[in-house]
Amino acid sequence: MRLKYLLLAVFLLLAVNVNAQTSREGSLSGFIYDDANKEALIGVNIYFPELGIGGSSNTSGYYIIPQIPAGSYTVVCEYIGYQTRTEQLTIASGEAAVHNFTLTVEAVQGRVVEVVADSIRTSEKLYEKPLSTLELTARQIKAVPQVAEADLLRSLQTLPGILPVSDFSSALYVRGGTPDQNLYLLDGTDVYNPEHAFGIFSTFNTDAIKHIDISKGGFSAAYGGRLSSVLDIINLDGNRERFQGSAAISLLSAKTTLQMPIGNRGAISGSIRRTYFDKTIRQAIDDIPDYYFYDGNLKAFFDIDKRNKLTLSGYGGRDVLRVVFNNASSNEAGFQMDWGNRTGSLKWTRVFNPQLFANFWITGSRFTSDFDFGETVPVTERNLVTDVTLKGNLEYHYSRHLIGKFGFEQKNLHLLYREDFPEGGVDVDRRAQHYVAYGQANWRPTPRWDIEAGLRYNNFTSGKSFQNWEPRFSAKYRLSETVNLKAATGLYYQYLQRIPRTFFTDIWTSASEYYDPSSARHYILGFQKEIANDYQLEVETYYKEYDGVFAFDPTFLTEIEAGRYNENGDPIFTSANSLFDIGDGDSYGFEMLLRKDVGAVSGWIGYAFAETEYRFPDVNGGAGFAPRHDRRSTLNLVGNIDIKNTLNAMQGKPFANHKGNWTLGLNLVYASGQPITAPGSAYITGVAPNSIQRYVEYYPSAIGNLRLPAYARLDVSLAYLRQYRGWSMSPYLQVFNIGNRKNVWYVDYKYSNGLSEIETVNMFPILPTVGINFNF
């Protein structure tokens, strides 16, 4: 019932056209586009220098500045990598002026643009973004050297507070949280299991990406359903001016992205990608599995009229793995597994009036995996997550000082895991409904203060109903022109849990009559400083408390109970009951990021100190322990060096756009060792009374008792960009782990003829890759 009242309040607000403007004031609103392709630009700063007021464009490129005193003013529009645009506009009394801006890419890309009004741009950019939020552009992601090709998730792992657990996983561990605690949104659609196999690729094709925001905590009431982070990815809308394309070929994969206008009303963009080492390297090396994946994105958007836009977005991909145990045999045995995501969304963007802006979505997300052991052992598996969501986000700019944001979400989930094996089966088939309503007020009492308070309401039902309120609060204070202080806190609930499976697809299950939802509280303080116009320094400290978090219980076989029996008397397991240990924990840490986005040398240096402790009654005798992903100290250095212009700068020459240009990329990570549970001792036993020999078995004495050695890795890339009339090409060489450092993944223990053999199992060795990118 309370949800109904909330929704009613939301629609009442919609219906009432409250206007805080006086008759002597007007407003300015509109969209901001890239001049070259008419892509909406996100996070553009727009302001009136004479008045000292302004705003920034939202994720749809929309901006509004209310309560502008009537008069003629200079309006400045600024965005990194684009020429600053300055226009004279006259705002009449009571006028709701609409003006769309177009920004032109800097002719000299990357040049430090002239900074106006006491370096307002960099400091303003820092001030505008929420605490613990980092933004990356596709260009920045591509500049980070990687195993085979630029990858979003692996690039995010170079930022402080975001960690991988090993080279073999692109999953993100954010501030002590586990990967299932991250919300992945692709054009507004939830994505489950966003990793392809073996950690090299994620499901997000960087060529199709327009904008990425990752919030490492303290996120606003507009987001929920996860305890740790939100990764919000917006794909390219498409070029509205001309046909445009890019293509890339490397040793492991090929991909292309094409964009074109649809008349003068919209645009369409599409990307496809396929790996092919099953056709190349595997033909020479038997040990490489027969594996490939393909994926593709399609996005189209249409301007229905000045106030209404429609965006259609879709993604589809499939991984296929086929393993044959013994190729030399006349009988074949092995297994095949294929898995992938499909997502789709339809977004309606509506400007009800200049002050009331809204986005409404219908989204669908479906993850499936299928496993078949073939004829040797009749084992098959089907894993499915379906999510159909209807949601809306609205912004009401009541005044220059007060912005209201509110929205709703109705999520229909279907979680299915079905397995057939000779001695029984698993049939967990659950449906869940999740209703959400939220509201938040953004109050800017003075130009120095920005206070946001929000409340999110959840009603989740799957066998049992849960109702939870999530208060959120954040505050920003502009200490000086270049220094900002920020704080955020919030309560977060999560209703979905994951059964992790190394290398392959995780299985999702939900809060139910067996398990309550997990929750977390975030407390974050931040300090931001602009240094020498172009450098951004961000320092944050946080404390995060977990309550009722889930850890997969590896000894679940001793507790699991059959839900029913089939006609052969074999057990059928119908719930996730007994699969998890439930506990609590906390994480705290300190992060520092010094970043430079422009100029001949760009990149960042990040340092993070973190400590995470879990406490589970059934693990480690109830004593606290550090989980596998806990790393105390991590240092990242990412550099992208435009060699010619760096040398020019050394000689005092101006930045120039060369026809041919060399770029050097560096990625260094140095991290203290992870904890691992090692066996404290070994013993000898047989399995059965008639065992014909006894074996050495290992017995752990304490969880997380051994720290692995520090992890270090240097990746280097060298690219040559050659520009021709209308197109360009860029061959590149990337070397992952150029020092061939043997980073320890884990320790393997065994005895052979009475002698102990303790061997370290290492992660990726040196991996060179060559490829070429084309843009046309």
């Binding site: 009988n331 404290g680 009475g754």
Partner: protein
Amino acid sequence: MKRKHIFYNTAILLLTALMILGCGEGIVEVDDSQYQPKIAIEGFLFPHQPVERIYITRNFRVDQNLRQTGILLPNANVTLTDLQSGEVYPLTFDQDEYFFRYTGSDLLIEYGHSYRLDVQATIEGSALQAGAVTTVPEAPLAITGVNYESLSYYQRDGDGNVLNFDVEFERVNGIDVYLATLIARDAAVETFIYDNPFEEYDEADVRDDLDDLRYEWDWIQNTPPGAGKSDIPIFWYHLWFYSDYEIVIYAPDRNYQDFLRTYDEVQEIDGNFHEPVFHIEGDGIGVFGSAVSDTVHVRVLP
């Protein structure tokens, strides 16, 4: 020019420093700090059978040379208590077989009865004690049949489906886990099935792994409660020899069930270890359990 040289030198220095940082090898220091001495128990009771093959050993450090380390605890004080009568029976160490047994004739293990094993031993100067209670299954287990007495390796039916052995048995009340062990009676390098679809072996490999390959085991669990028949399928990946196979089906008690399901699966795929589920009190690890069993033979033909 001077600035250029400074840049070059700085860049070279930086790259060299980064290279050095990104080279080398992580060295794992495995020390003894987590070692705690424990009494390792491996013992099973069978109704109406002598109490013997109770192995009492000690655990050892993971880097210890077993050729120079004695793990037996022949001086351990080991007793078995019949919890129905309260009678305590001392077990003695068999110097030839290296296990403890009860040498008297006044102890009869009964169906459905509970027994407690107590062990006291001194390891590295520490006086340790461990104890466990097992409740013997209530009734005998009976194999009621096997679908084929013999099959050719990877034999198929007329439709091309692979045939498997299937052992049917009567369930024991209160037991829902059943273990099958398979021993190839004619296991030899010459009888190994080299043309198998699971793993490529040569004769040297088979010679090295002969004991591993000739002894296989599997279990089923969560069988229906109460009386009735269940079956255990025997898949070809357990059968490595053209041989007579002795298949023993065990109905284990809860101690043995949990040991069976967890003792060997303590290292996860990412290398992390986790605790097995043992039902031993005090300073002990391993299993003290009980079971009932029955045996059947099948033959794998070329």
